[in-house]
Symmetry: C2
Subunit: 251 residues, 2 copies
DNA sequence: CGGCGGTTTGATCGGAGTCAACCATGGTGG
DNA sequence: CCACCATGGTTGACTCCGATCAAACCGCCG
C-alpha cells in the first residue's frame, strides 16, 4: 500500500527528457539544463496508492513528476478528506514543504509513478546561481496558486453539476497539455471517491451528478476511470472560459 | 468608489518601517534592505471600496500592503462572487500578475489603505542579485498556497458553523501576528456579505450562522465589523489546530 | 465460493437557499 | 427639519439541493 520502491538510479537524462521536448515547456539554456541535470540525484518509482509525502512530516524530498498521476490532500481531525489538486507530469511535488519546512498536506499516487528526485539542500544554490530557475520555481508556485483560486471559486459558488463539469474539463486540459490525450478521448485514472473528495460532495451525490453529465453525452464513466467526450460542452456547463496557456518551465 | 488617489510620494523609509520592527518579521541584511528601499518607488493611498487590481487586467503593479485590510476575489460570468483570501499589512499584492503576466483575480480595499509601490520590471534584477529576497518571494507564494489549501478544506468539508468559526479564527490569528489585536478583542472590518462570499454561503444563512457563534459567546457582531471574544473556542468549533508561526519576510 | 472496492439506485432527511418582510443607521436633498 | 432612500443586519416561512441510510449489482481476486 504505502511501499516506496528504492530509487532505481538514473534512467532518463535531463537533456533527453521526453517531457522537455513537448511544446508546452519552454526551452532551457544549456547551463540551466546542466544544473538541473546535476540537481537530480536519481529516480523514484512508486506504485498506485503509495503515500509519497505525509502531512506533518518534516523530512521532505523535492520531486518532479516524470510520468503518472498523483493528488494532494488534507484531512480534518475526524477524517473528512479534501483533495486540493492533482499532479501531472512536469509538476513539482513537495515544493511547499521544501520552502516552508513542514509538509501541510499529503500526496498519493493515482497510478504508477516515476519521479525525479532532487537534493533539497541545493535549493539555496539554485536560487543563488540560477535566477532564471528560481523565477521558474516562483512561477510554478504562482501557477499552483491560480489553480487553487479557480478550485475555490468552484467549491464556493458552483453547484454540483457545474463543479463536476469544471473539474473534468480542468483535468482534461491539463492532461492534454502534457500530451496525455489520444485523439480527443482521455481517461482519467480516478474513482468517484476522488471526484467526491475534490468537489466536497458525498459519493452518492457525486455518482448522480456524473450520471447527469453522462446523460448529456459529455463524459462516459468507465470502471475506475472517466472518458471525456466533449470538453467544450463541459466548459460551457461550468461557465468556464478555459485556462490561459503559457510556455511553462520544467525543473 | 473606484478612485485611486495618486501616489503621495515616500513617507515611510523602509529602514524605519513600523512593520519591520514587529517580532513576526525576520531581520534583513542591510544590503537587502537597501535594495528593497530602492525597489520601492513610492506610496499609494486608497480609500475603502477601491478596486486596486481587476481580473483580466494586464498592466499590473506590485505592492506591499503597509496598512489596512483588502481582499482578493473572482467572479463567475453570471456574477457569483467568491472571496479567495484577505490581505493584511505585510502582504504582497499583485504577485500573481507580476509572475504570470495577467491578473486572474481582483483586489478591493476593505478599509483605507497605504501601499508601497514597486517597480515590476526590476523583479528580474531582484532575482538576479538578491537570491535571499527571491527565496522570500517564493516563500510568500508558498504561504499563500498553504492558506488556500486550508480554505479549500474548509469549503469542501466543513459545515456552515465550522466554516464561519474557522474563517474568523484565521483572520484573528493573522491580524494578531501583525499587531492588530488590542488586548484580546479584535474588530474585523468586514460585512456579513464578505463572510458569505468567503464561505460560499448565502447572506441569510451566514447571518443565522454568525448568530449561533454569537449565542455561544464566541464572537459579537457589531455594525460592519466583528469582535472576536474567544479564539480558542472558535478554533475548537472549527476543528482547527491553528497556524504554524514562522518568522516571515517583508518585501 | 465469498468478500471487497467501486458503482448504482431509491427513499428519506436536513442543511442551506430563496423569498419576503422588517428594523436601524446614516446620508441626501427639499 | 424631515421625508426619502440605500446599506447592512435580522427573522420567519417555505423550498430544494445534496447528505444520509439502505440495498443491491458488478467485476475481480484470493
Amino acid at each position: 500500500m504505502s511501499l516506496v520502491l528504492p530509487s532505481s538510479g538514473r534512467r532518463v537524462p535531463c537533456e533527453q527528457c521526453p517531457l522537455r521536448a513537448m511544446p508546452s515547456f519552454r526551452a532551457f539554456e544549456s547551463q540551466e539544463l546542466r544544473f538541473v541535470s546535476s540537481f537530480k540525484t536519481g529516480e523514484l518509482v512508486a506504485e498506485t496508492g503509495t503515500t509519497l509525502l505525509a502531512e506533518g512530516n518534516n523530512s521532505v524530498h523535492l520531486y518532479t513528476l516524470l510520468s503518472g498521476w498523483a493528488f494532494r490532500y488534507k484531512t480534518l481531525p475526524d477524517g473528512r478528506r479534501q483533495i486540493l489538486n492533482y499532479m501531472l507530469p512536469g509538476d513539482l511535488v513537495g515544493l511547499q514543504g521544501s520552502i516552508i519546512g513542514e509538509m501541510q498536506h499529503s500526496v498519493e499516487a493515482l497510478s504508477p509513478l516515476v519521479l525525479c528526485v532532487f537534493q533539497r539542500n541545493r535549493l539555496t544554490e539554485l536560487f543563488s546561481n540560477h535566477p532564471g530557475l528560481a523565477f521558474d520555481i516562483t512561477w510554478l508556485a504562482a501557477q499552483e496558486e491560480r489553480m487553487l483560486d479557480d478550485h475555490l471559486l468552484s467549491l464556493g459558488r458552483r453547484n454540483a453539476v457545474e463543479r463536476a463539469a469544471y473539474l473534468i474539463a480542468f483535468l482534461y486540459q491539463r492532461a492534454a497539455s502534457v500530451g496525455l490525450s489520444g485523439a480527443n478521448a482521455l481517461y482519467l485514472p480516478i474513482t468517484q471517491m476522488h471526484v467526491a473528495d475534490t468537489l466536497g460532495l458525498s459519493i452518492v451525490h457525486t455518482n448522480k451528478t456524473l450520471r447527469k453529465l453522462a446523460d448529456r453525452k459529455l463524459i462516459r464513466w468507465l470502471d475506475r476511470s472517466c472518458e471525456v467526450l466533449d470538453v467544450e460542452g463541459l466548459m460551457q456547463a461550468a461557465e468556464w472560459e478555459g485556462p490561459l496557456e503559457r510556455k511553462r518551465p520544467l525543473i
